[in-house]
Subunit: 222 residues, 2 copies
DNA sequence: AAATATTTTTAAGTAAACCTAAAAAAACTA
DNA sequence: TAGTTTTTTTAGGTTTACTTAAAAATATTT
Protein backbone atom coordinates (compact mmCIF):
# COMPACT_ATOMS: atom_id res chain seq x y z
CA UNK A 1 0.00 0.00 0.00
CA UNK A 2 2.66 2.54 1.05
CA UNK A 3 6.40 2.54 0.39
CA UNK A 4 8.96 1.75 3.09
CA UNK A 5 10.20 5.32 2.82
CA UNK A 6 6.75 6.78 3.37
CA UNK A 7 6.24 4.43 6.31
CA UNK A 8 9.55 5.47 7.84
CA UNK A 9 8.60 9.15 7.66
CA UNK A 10 5.24 8.46 9.28
CA UNK A 11 7.00 6.63 12.09
CA UNK A 12 9.47 9.48 12.54
CA UNK A 13 6.68 12.07 12.66
CA UNK A 14 4.89 10.01 15.31
CA UNK A 15 8.05 9.68 17.37
CA UNK A 16 8.77 13.41 17.32
CA UNK A 17 5.12 14.33 17.91
CA UNK A 18 4.99 12.11 21.02
CA UNK A 19 8.21 13.63 22.35
CA UNK A 20 7.46 17.34 22.01
CA UNK A 21 4.54 19.73 21.90
CA UNK A 22 3.55 21.60 18.76
CA UNK A 23 4.12 20.76 15.11
CA UNK A 24 6.99 18.60 13.89
CA UNK A 25 9.46 20.72 11.93
CA UNK A 26 11.31 19.96 8.72
CA UNK A 27 14.67 20.27 10.47
CA UNK A 28 13.77 17.90 13.29
CA UNK A 29 12.56 15.32 10.75
CA UNK A 30 15.71 15.70 8.65
CA UNK A 31 17.82 15.03 11.76
CA UNK A 32 15.66 12.05 12.79
CA UNK A 33 15.80 10.52 9.29
CA UNK A 34 19.47 11.30 8.65
CA UNK A 35 18.63 13.16 5.48
CA UNK A 36 18.47 16.73 4.18
CA UNK A 37 15.74 19.35 4.61
CA UNK A 38 14.82 19.42 0.89
CA UNK A 39 14.26 15.65 0.93
CA UNK A 40 11.91 16.08 3.87
CA UNK A 41 9.96 18.89 2.19
CA UNK A 42 9.64 16.66 -0.86
CA UNK A 43 8.23 13.76 1.15
CA UNK A 44 5.90 15.94 3.24
CA UNK A 45 4.31 17.18 0.04
CA UNK A 46 3.68 13.56 -1.00
CA UNK A 47 2.36 12.46 2.41
CA UNK A 48 0.07 15.49 2.39
CA UNK A 49 -1.27 14.62 -1.07
CA UNK A 50 -2.07 11.12 0.17
CA UNK A 51 -3.83 12.53 3.25
CA UNK A 52 -1.44 10.83 5.64
CA UNK A 53 -0.26 14.11 7.13
CA UNK A 54 -1.31 17.77 7.28
CA UNK A 55 1.57 19.94 6.18
CA UNK A 56 1.75 23.71 6.37
CA UNK A 57 4.69 25.42 4.71
CA UNK A 58 7.24 27.03 7.02
CA UNK A 59 5.23 25.77 9.99
CA UNK A 60 5.39 22.02 10.31
CA UNK A 61 3.58 18.69 9.97
CA UNK A 62 1.15 16.51 11.93
CA UNK A 63 -0.28 13.05 11.21
CA UNK A 64 -3.85 12.58 10.05
CA UNK A 65 -5.95 9.84 11.61
CA UNK A 66 -4.89 7.45 8.84
CA UNK A 67 -1.24 8.49 9.16
CA UNK A 68 -1.38 7.89 12.90
CA UNK A 69 -2.97 4.49 12.39
CA UNK A 70 -0.22 3.39 10.02
CA UNK A 71 2.60 4.78 12.15
CA UNK A 72 1.24 3.08 15.26
CA UNK A 73 0.93 -0.22 13.41
CA UNK A 74 4.58 0.08 12.39
CA UNK A 75 5.71 0.67 15.97
CA UNK A 76 3.63 -2.35 16.99
CA UNK A 77 5.21 -4.56 14.35
CA UNK A 78 8.70 -3.27 15.08
CA UNK A 79 8.44 -4.05 18.79
CA UNK A 80 6.80 -7.44 18.30
CA UNK A 81 9.61 -8.45 15.95
CA UNK A 82 12.14 -7.25 18.53
CA UNK A 83 10.52 -9.55 21.08
CA UNK A 84 10.73 -12.40 18.57
CA UNK A 85 14.38 -11.78 17.81
CA UNK A 86 15.41 -11.72 21.47
CA UNK A 87 13.03 -14.30 22.98
CA UNK A 88 13.01 -16.84 20.15
CA UNK A 89 16.24 -16.33 18.23
CA UNK A 90 18.43 -15.36 21.18
CA UNK A 91 19.66 -11.99 19.96
CA UNK A 92 20.77 -9.34 22.47
CA UNK A 93 18.78 -6.14 22.99
CA UNK A 94 21.50 -4.10 21.29
CA UNK A 95 21.37 -6.19 18.09
CA UNK A 96 17.70 -6.19 17.14
CA UNK A 97 16.88 -2.66 16.03
CA UNK A 98 18.11 -2.80 12.41
CA UNK A 99 16.45 -6.16 11.74
CA UNK A 100 13.14 -4.99 13.22
CA UNK A 101 13.43 -1.86 11.09
CA UNK A 102 13.24 -4.13 8.03
CA UNK A 103 10.78 -6.69 9.38
CA UNK A 104 8.22 -4.03 10.34
CA UNK A 105 7.60 -3.32 6.64
CA UNK A 106 6.52 -6.87 5.77
CA UNK A 107 2.91 -6.62 4.64
CA UNK A 108 0.27 -9.22 5.40
CA UNK A 109 -3.21 -8.93 6.92
CA UNK A 110 -2.69 -11.66 9.53
CA UNK A 111 1.04 -11.79 10.17
CA UNK A 112 1.18 -9.31 13.05
CA UNK A 113 -1.58 -10.96 15.06
CA UNK A 114 -0.18 -14.46 14.47
CA UNK A 115 3.19 -13.27 15.66
CA UNK A 116 1.59 -11.56 18.66
CA UNK A 117 -0.13 -14.81 19.66
CA UNK A 118 3.05 -16.86 19.10
CA UNK A 119 4.94 -14.51 21.43
CA UNK A 120 2.28 -14.73 24.15
CA UNK A 121 0.79 -11.24 23.71
CA UNK A 122 3.69 -9.18 25.07
CA UNK A 123 2.98 -5.57 26.09
CA UNK A 124 6.57 -4.31 26.31
CA UNK A 125 9.54 -4.84 24.01
CA UNK A 126 13.09 -5.92 25.02
CA UNK A 127 13.97 -2.29 25.84
CA UNK A 128 10.89 -1.86 28.02
CA UNK A 129 9.08 0.23 25.41
CA UNK A 130 5.30 -0.18 25.26
CA UNK A 131 3.80 -2.19 22.39
CA UNK A 132 0.57 -0.55 21.18
CA UNK A 133 -2.30 -3.02 20.83
CA UNK A 134 -4.20 -3.71 17.60
CA UNK A 135 -6.53 -0.77 18.42
CA UNK A 136 -3.57 1.58 18.69
CA UNK A 137 -3.70 1.96 22.50
CA UNK A 138 -0.40 2.23 24.36
CA UNK A 139 0.24 0.43 27.67
CA UNK A 140 1.69 2.82 30.25
CA UNK A 141 5.05 2.52 31.88
CA UNK A 142 6.65 4.43 34.79
CA UNK A 143 8.55 7.43 33.43
CA UNK A 144 10.64 8.14 36.50
CA UNK A 145 14.38 8.34 35.87
CA UNK A 146 16.93 6.56 38.03
CA UNK A 147 18.58 9.95 38.55
CA UNK A 148 15.49 11.17 40.44
CA UNK A 149 15.70 8.48 43.14
CA UNK A 150 16.19 9.50 46.79
CA UNK A 151 18.95 7.91 48.87
CA UNK A 152 17.85 4.58 50.34
CA UNK A 153 15.13 3.96 47.77
CA UNK A 154 14.97 0.68 45.89
CA UNK A 155 13.81 0.53 42.27
CA UNK A 156 13.71 -1.85 39.32
CA UNK A 157 14.85 -0.95 35.81
CA UNK A 158 11.82 -0.88 33.49
CA UNK A 159 13.17 0.87 30.41
CA UNK A 160 15.88 2.88 28.66
CA UNK A 161 15.62 6.44 27.38
CA UNK A 162 18.68 6.00 25.14
CA UNK A 163 18.39 3.15 22.59
CA UNK A 164 21.88 3.39 21.11
CA UNK A 165 23.84 0.15 20.81
CA UNK A 166 26.68 1.92 22.64
CA UNK A 167 24.54 2.54 25.73
CA UNK A 168 22.90 -0.89 25.66
CA UNK A 169 26.27 -2.60 25.40
CA UNK A 170 27.53 -0.46 28.27
CA UNK A 171 24.61 -1.72 30.36
CA UNK A 172 25.43 -5.30 29.36
CA UNK A 173 28.94 -4.84 30.68
CA UNK A 174 27.63 -3.30 33.90
CA UNK A 175 25.31 -6.29 34.30
CA UNK A 176 22.19 -4.12 34.18
CA UNK A 177 19.11 -5.11 32.23
CA UNK A 178 15.33 -4.91 32.39
CA UNK A 179 14.17 -6.01 35.84
CA UNK A 180 17.49 -5.35 37.56
CA UNK A 181 16.81 -3.99 41.05
CA UNK A 182 18.98 -1.20 42.46
CA UNK A 183 19.19 0.54 45.82
CA UNK A 184 20.55 4.08 45.81
CA UNK A 185 23.27 4.03 48.48
CA UNK A 186 24.68 7.48 47.86
CA UNK A 187 24.58 10.35 45.40
CA UNK A 188 28.10 11.68 44.83
CA UNK A 189 28.00 15.47 44.97
CA UNK A 190 31.14 15.94 42.85
CA UNK A 191 29.75 14.68 39.51
CA UNK A 192 26.26 13.44 40.42
CA UNK A 193 27.36 9.81 40.08
CA UNK A 194 25.15 7.29 41.85
CA UNK A 195 26.60 4.63 44.10
CA UNK A 196 24.10 1.79 43.92
CA UNK A 197 23.68 -1.64 45.45
CA UNK A 198 22.29 -4.60 43.50
CA UNK A 199 20.59 -6.81 46.11
CA UNK A 200 20.08 -9.83 43.82
CA UNK A 201 23.70 -9.94 42.72
CA UNK A 202 25.11 -8.74 46.04
CA UNK A 203 27.46 -6.20 44.51
CA UNK A 204 27.84 -2.43 44.30
CA UNK A 205 28.26 -0.19 41.28
CA UNK A 206 29.08 3.40 40.45
CA UNK A 207 26.81 4.79 37.73
CA UNK A 208 27.47 8.05 35.91
CA UNK A 209 24.84 10.78 35.91
CA UNK A 210 24.40 10.22 32.18
CA UNK A 211 23.59 6.55 32.75
CA UNK A 212 21.24 7.46 35.60
CA UNK A 213 19.38 9.92 33.40
CA UNK A 214 18.97 7.24 30.69
CA UNK A 215 17.26 4.59 32.79
CA UNK A 216 13.56 4.44 33.66
CA UNK A 217 12.80 2.80 37.00
CA UNK A 218 9.86 1.78 39.12
CA UNK A 219 10.08 2.21 42.89
CA UNK A 220 9.80 -1.15 44.66
CA UNK A 221 9.45 -1.69 48.40
CA UNK A 222 11.99 -3.74 50.40
CA UNK B 1 24.19 -4.46 -0.47
CA UNK B 2 21.84 -5.16 -3.40
CA UNK B 3 18.31 -3.91 -4.01
CA UNK B 4 15.26 -6.14 -3.62
CA UNK B 5 14.64 -5.83 -7.33
CA UNK B 6 18.15 -6.98 -8.22
CA UNK B 7 17.77 -9.86 -5.79
CA UNK B 8 14.46 -10.88 -7.33
CA UNK B 9 15.99 -10.99 -10.79
CA UNK B 10 18.88 -13.11 -9.56
CA UNK B 11 16.43 -15.53 -8.01
CA UNK B 12 14.38 -15.68 -11.21
CA UNK B 13 17.49 -16.34 -13.31
CA UNK B 14 18.47 -19.16 -10.96
CA UNK B 15 15.00 -20.66 -11.11
CA UNK B 16 14.90 -20.66 -14.92
CA UNK B 17 18.48 -21.87 -15.24
CA UNK B 18 17.75 -24.86 -12.99
CA UNK B 19 14.65 -25.71 -15.00
CA UNK B 20 16.03 -25.64 -18.53
CA UNK B 21 19.26 -26.09 -20.42
CA UNK B 22 21.04 -23.23 -22.13
CA UNK B 23 20.98 -19.50 -21.43
CA UNK B 24 18.04 -17.76 -19.78
CA UNK B 25 16.29 -15.51 -22.30
CA UNK B 26 14.88 -12.01 -21.90
CA UNK B 27 11.39 -13.20 -22.74
CA UNK B 28 11.42 -16.03 -20.20
CA UNK B 29 12.60 -13.63 -17.52
CA UNK B 30 9.96 -11.06 -18.42
CA UNK B 31 7.27 -13.75 -18.06
CA UNK B 32 8.72 -15.01 -14.76
CA UNK B 33 8.93 -11.48 -13.32
CA UNK B 34 5.60 -10.28 -14.69
CA UNK B 35 7.23 -7.36 -16.43
CA UNK B 36 8.18 -6.24 -19.94
CA UNK B 37 11.17 -7.23 -22.05
CA UNK B 38 12.72 -3.73 -22.00
CA UNK B 39 12.65 -3.70 -18.21
CA UNK B 40 14.52 -7.01 -18.23
CA UNK B 41 17.14 -5.77 -20.70
CA UNK B 42 17.61 -2.72 -18.47
CA UNK B 43 18.17 -4.81 -15.36
CA UNK B 44 20.44 -7.34 -17.11
CA UNK B 45 22.73 -4.47 -18.10
CA UNK B 46 22.93 -3.42 -14.45
CA UNK B 47 23.47 -6.96 -13.11
CA UNK B 48 26.18 -7.43 -15.72
CA UNK B 49 27.93 -4.19 -14.69
CA UNK B 50 27.95 -5.41 -11.08
CA UNK B 51 29.35 -8.79 -12.14
CA UNK B 52 26.37 -10.70 -10.84
CA UNK B 53 25.51 -12.09 -14.28
CA UNK B 54 27.08 -12.53 -17.68
CA UNK B 55 24.80 -11.08 -20.30
CA UNK B 56 25.19 -11.39 -24.06
CA UNK B 57 22.86 -9.34 -26.23
CA UNK B 58 20.25 -11.27 -28.22
CA UNK B 59 21.54 -14.47 -26.62
CA UNK B 60 20.74 -14.61 -22.92
CA UNK B 61 22.02 -14.43 -19.37
CA UNK B 62 23.73 -16.67 -16.80
CA UNK B 63 24.67 -16.07 -13.18
CA UNK B 64 28.26 -15.47 -12.14
CA UNK B 65 29.63 -17.25 -9.08
CA UNK B 66 28.67 -14.25 -6.92
CA UNK B 67 25.24 -14.01 -8.53
CA UNK B 68 24.66 -17.71 -7.89
CA UNK B 69 25.76 -17.34 -4.29
CA UNK B 70 23.29 -14.51 -3.68
CA UNK B 71 20.42 -16.21 -5.48
CA UNK B 72 20.96 -19.44 -3.55
CA UNK B 73 21.03 -17.53 -0.25
CA UNK B 74 17.70 -15.95 -1.17
CA UNK B 75 16.11 -19.32 -1.88
CA UNK B 76 17.51 -20.57 1.43
CA UNK B 77 16.04 -17.62 3.33
CA UNK B 78 12.71 -17.85 1.50
CA UNK B 79 12.24 -21.50 2.35
CA UNK B 80 13.38 -21.16 5.96
CA UNK B 81 10.87 -18.34 6.48
CA UNK B 82 8.18 -20.54 4.91
CA UNK B 83 8.97 -23.23 7.48
CA UNK B 84 8.73 -20.61 10.23
CA UNK B 85 5.39 -19.30 9.01
CA UNK B 86 3.81 -22.78 8.82
CA UNK B 87 5.49 -24.52 11.77
CA UNK B 88 5.54 -21.65 14.25
CA UNK B 89 2.79 -19.26 13.21
CA UNK B 90 0.35 -21.87 11.94
CA UNK B 91 -0.13 -20.60 8.39
CA UNK B 92 -1.20 -23.00 5.62
CA UNK B 93 1.16 -23.96 2.79
CA UNK B 94 -0.88 -21.93 0.32
CA UNK B 95 -0.56 -18.70 2.36
CA UNK B 96 3.15 -18.32 2.95
CA UNK B 97 4.69 -17.49 -0.42
CA UNK B 98 4.06 -13.73 -0.50
CA UNK B 99 5.24 -13.21 3.06
CA UNK B 100 8.42 -15.23 2.47
CA UNK B 101 8.98 -13.20 -0.69
CA UNK B 102 9.31 -10.12 1.52
CA UNK B 103 11.07 -11.74 4.48
CA UNK B 104 13.82 -13.19 2.29
CA UNK B 105 15.15 -9.67 1.66
CA UNK B 106 15.79 -8.85 5.31
CA UNK B 107 19.52 -8.33 5.64
CA UNK B 108 21.55 -9.40 8.65
CA UNK B 109 24.75 -11.46 8.92
CA UNK B 110 23.39 -13.85 11.58
CA UNK B 111 19.63 -13.88 11.11
CA UNK B 112 19.42 -16.78 8.66
CA UNK B 113 21.51 -19.14 10.76
CA UNK B 114 19.70 -18.22 13.98
CA UNK B 115 16.40 -18.91 12.26
CA UNK B 116 17.75 -22.18 10.88
CA UNK B 117 18.75 -23.34 14.37
CA UNK B 118 15.41 -22.20 15.87
CA UNK B 119 13.57 -24.28 13.28
CA UNK B 120 15.69 -27.37 13.96
CA UNK B 121 17.75 -27.31 10.75
CA UNK B 122 15.03 -28.26 8.25
CA UNK B 123 16.14 -29.49 4.83
CA UNK B 124 12.81 -29.19 3.01
CA UNK B 125 10.19 -26.44 3.04
CA UNK B 126 6.41 -26.84 3.52
CA UNK B 127 6.01 -27.66 -0.19
CA UNK B 128 8.72 -30.30 -0.10
CA UNK B 129 11.23 -28.08 -1.88
CA UNK B 130 14.87 -28.51 -0.87
CA UNK B 131 16.47 -25.84 1.33
CA UNK B 132 20.07 -25.23 0.20
CA UNK B 133 22.53 -25.25 3.11
CA UNK B 134 24.80 -22.34 4.06
CA UNK B 135 27.39 -23.62 1.57
CA UNK B 136 24.86 -23.52 -1.25
CA UNK B 137 24.43 -27.30 -1.55
CA UNK B 138 20.96 -28.62 -2.33
CA UNK B 139 19.52 -31.73 -0.63
CA UNK B 140 18.09 -34.13 -3.19
CA UNK B 141 14.48 -35.22 -3.42
CA UNK B 142 12.79 -37.91 -5.53
CA UNK B 143 11.63 -36.39 -8.82
CA UNK B 144 9.21 -39.11 -9.80
CA UNK B 145 5.70 -37.92 -10.62
CA UNK B 146 2.60 -39.60 -9.24
CA UNK B 147 1.45 -39.99 -12.84
CA UNK B 148 4.34 -42.39 -13.53
CA UNK B 149 3.30 -44.92 -10.87
CA UNK B 150 2.43 -48.47 -11.89
CA UNK B 151 -0.82 -50.06 -10.75
CA UNK B 152 -0.51 -51.54 -7.28
CA UNK B 153 2.44 -49.40 -6.25
CA UNK B 154 2.35 -47.43 -3.01
CA UNK B 155 4.04 -44.03 -2.74
CA UNK B 156 4.21 -41.04 -0.41
CA UNK B 157 3.79 -37.44 -1.52
CA UNK B 158 7.11 -35.60 -1.13
CA UNK B 159 6.55 -32.43 -3.11
CA UNK B 160 4.54 -30.36 -5.55
CA UNK B 161 5.52 -29.27 -9.05
CA UNK B 162 2.85 -26.55 -9.13
CA UNK B 163 3.08 -23.99 -6.34
CA UNK B 164 -0.04 -22.00 -7.14
CA UNK B 165 -2.41 -21.28 -4.26
CA UNK B 166 -5.21 -22.71 -6.43
CA UNK B 167 -3.50 -26.12 -6.65
CA UNK B 168 -2.44 -26.17 -3.01
CA UNK B 169 -5.97 -25.34 -1.87
CA UNK B 170 -7.30 -28.06 -4.14
CA UNK B 171 -4.99 -30.53 -2.42
CA UNK B 172 -6.19 -29.28 0.99
CA UNK B 173 -9.75 -30.08 0.00
CA UNK B 174 -8.73 -33.51 -1.28
CA UNK B 175 -7.00 -34.14 2.05
CA UNK B 176 -3.62 -34.60 0.42
CA UNK B 177 -0.44 -33.09 1.86
CA UNK B 178 3.24 -33.85 2.27
CA UNK B 179 3.65 -37.37 3.57
CA UNK B 180 0.25 -38.60 2.42
CA UNK B 181 0.58 -42.21 1.22
CA UNK B 182 -1.30 -43.38 -1.86
CA UNK B 183 -1.76 -46.74 -3.55
CA UNK B 184 -2.54 -46.66 -7.27
CA UNK B 185 -5.60 -48.87 -7.62
CA UNK B 186 -6.35 -48.20 -11.27
CA UNK B 187 -5.39 -45.88 -14.11
CA UNK B 188 -8.54 -44.83 -16.00
CA UNK B 189 -7.86 -45.16 -19.72
CA UNK B 190 -10.54 -42.62 -20.72
CA UNK B 191 -8.86 -39.46 -19.30
CA UNK B 192 -5.78 -40.83 -17.50
CA UNK B 193 -7.38 -40.19 -14.11
CA UNK B 194 -5.91 -42.16 -11.23
CA UNK B 195 -8.07 -44.07 -8.81
CA UNK B 196 -6.05 -44.16 -5.59
CA UNK B 197 -6.41 -45.61 -2.13
CA UNK B 198 -5.23 -43.76 0.98
CA UNK B 199 -4.34 -46.53 3.46
CA UNK B 200 -3.98 -44.23 6.53
CA UNK B 201 -7.37 -42.59 6.02
CA UNK B 202 -9.03 -45.70 4.64
CA UNK B 203 -10.70 -43.94 1.73
CA UNK B 204 -10.44 -43.83 -2.05
CA UNK B 205 -10.03 -40.86 -4.36
CA UNK B 206 -10.12 -40.03 -8.06
CA UNK B 207 -7.26 -37.75 -9.09
CA UNK B 208 -7.11 -35.95 -12.42
CA UNK B 209 -4.11 -36.44 -14.69
CA UNK B 210 -3.19 -32.83 -14.13
CA UNK B 211 -3.05 -33.37 -10.37
CA UNK B 212 -1.08 -36.59 -10.86
CA UNK B 213 1.47 -34.76 -13.01
CA UNK B 214 1.89 -32.06 -10.34
CA UNK B 215 2.80 -34.30 -7.41
CA UNK B 216 6.22 -35.71 -6.66
CA UNK B 217 6.19 -39.06 -4.88
CA UNK B 218 8.57 -41.56 -3.36
CA UNK B 219 7.84 -45.26 -3.76
CA UNK B 220 7.30 -46.92 -0.39
CA UNK B 221 6.98 -50.66 0.25
CA UNK B 222 3.94 -52.20 1.94
C1' DA C 1 16.98 -17.11 -50.32
C1' DA C 2 13.53 -13.77 -49.63
C1' DA C 3 9.66 -12.48 -47.02
C1' DT C 4 7.47 -12.59 -42.78
C1' DA C 5 7.04 -13.12 -37.90
C1' DT C 6 9.04 -13.04 -33.46
C1' DT C 7 12.18 -11.52 -30.12
C1' DT C 8 15.10 -8.20 -28.30
C1' DT C 9 17.07 -3.82 -27.87
C1' DT C 10 17.12 1.16 -28.08
C1' DA C 11 14.93 5.52 -27.37
C1' DA C 12 12.34 8.47 -24.73
C1' DG C 13 9.65 9.29 -20.79
C1' DT C 14 7.68 8.67 -15.78
C1' DA C 15 7.66 8.51 -10.61
C1' DA C 16 9.99 7.86 -6.21
C1' DA C 17 13.49 9.29 -3.38
C1' DC C 18 17.27 11.22 -2.84
C1' DC C 19 21.04 15.16 -3.61
C1' DT C 20 23.38 20.29 -3.91
C1' DA C 21 22.94 25.17 -4.69
C1' DA C 22 20.20 29.18 -4.65
C1' DA C 23 16.21 31.81 -3.19
C1' DA C 24 12.76 32.99 0.07
C1' DA C 25 10.69 33.16 4.50
C1' DA C 26 10.99 33.33 9.44
C1' DA C 27 13.46 34.13 13.58
C1' DC C 28 16.66 36.37 16.14
C1' DT C 29 19.46 40.56 17.69
C1' DA C 30 21.70 44.88 18.15
C1' DT D 1 13.11 48.35 13.26
C1' DA D 2 16.83 47.20 10.26
C1' DG D 3 20.24 43.88 9.63
C1' DT D 4 21.84 39.33 10.25
C1' DT D 5 21.37 34.51 10.99
C1' DT D 6 18.80 30.36 10.67
C1' DT D 7 15.38 27.57 8.64
C1' DT D 8 12.78 26.14 4.89
C1' DT D 9 11.52 25.90 0.22
C1' DT D 10 12.36 25.93 -4.71
C1' DA D 11 15.05 24.79 -8.67
C1' DG D 12 17.54 21.63 -11.05
C1' DG D 13 19.84 17.21 -11.27
C1' DT D 14 20.77 12.00 -10.21
C1' DT D 15 19.71 6.91 -9.93
C1' DT D 16 16.58 3.02 -9.86
C1' DA D 17 13.05 0.69 -11.89
C1' DC D 18 9.66 0.78 -14.43
C1' DT D 19 6.69 2.10 -18.90
C1' DT D 20 5.36 2.42 -24.32
C1' DA D 21 6.73 2.95 -29.12
C1' DA D 22 10.05 2.31 -32.60
C1' DA D 23 14.07 0.14 -34.50
C1' DA D 24 17.09 -3.68 -35.02
C1' DA D 25 18.38 -8.38 -34.83
C1' DT D 26 17.16 -13.14 -35.01
C1' DA D 27 14.19 -16.97 -36.25
C1' DT D 28 10.77 -19.06 -39.10
C1' DT D 29 8.32 -20.04 -43.17
C1' DT D 30 7.41 -20.51 -47.92
Amino acid sequence: MYTSSEENYLKAILKLARKEEGPVTTGALAAEMNTTAPSVTDMLRRLSEKNLATYEKYYGVALTEEGLRIATTLVRRHRLWEVFLTQKLGFQWDEVHDMAEQLEHVQHPELTERLNAFLGYPTFDPHGDPIPNAQGEWPSRPHQLLSSLATGQIAAVVGVDDHSAAFLQHLNRLGIGLGTRLELVERVEFDLSLYVHLPEQNRNLMLSDKVARSLFVEISNA
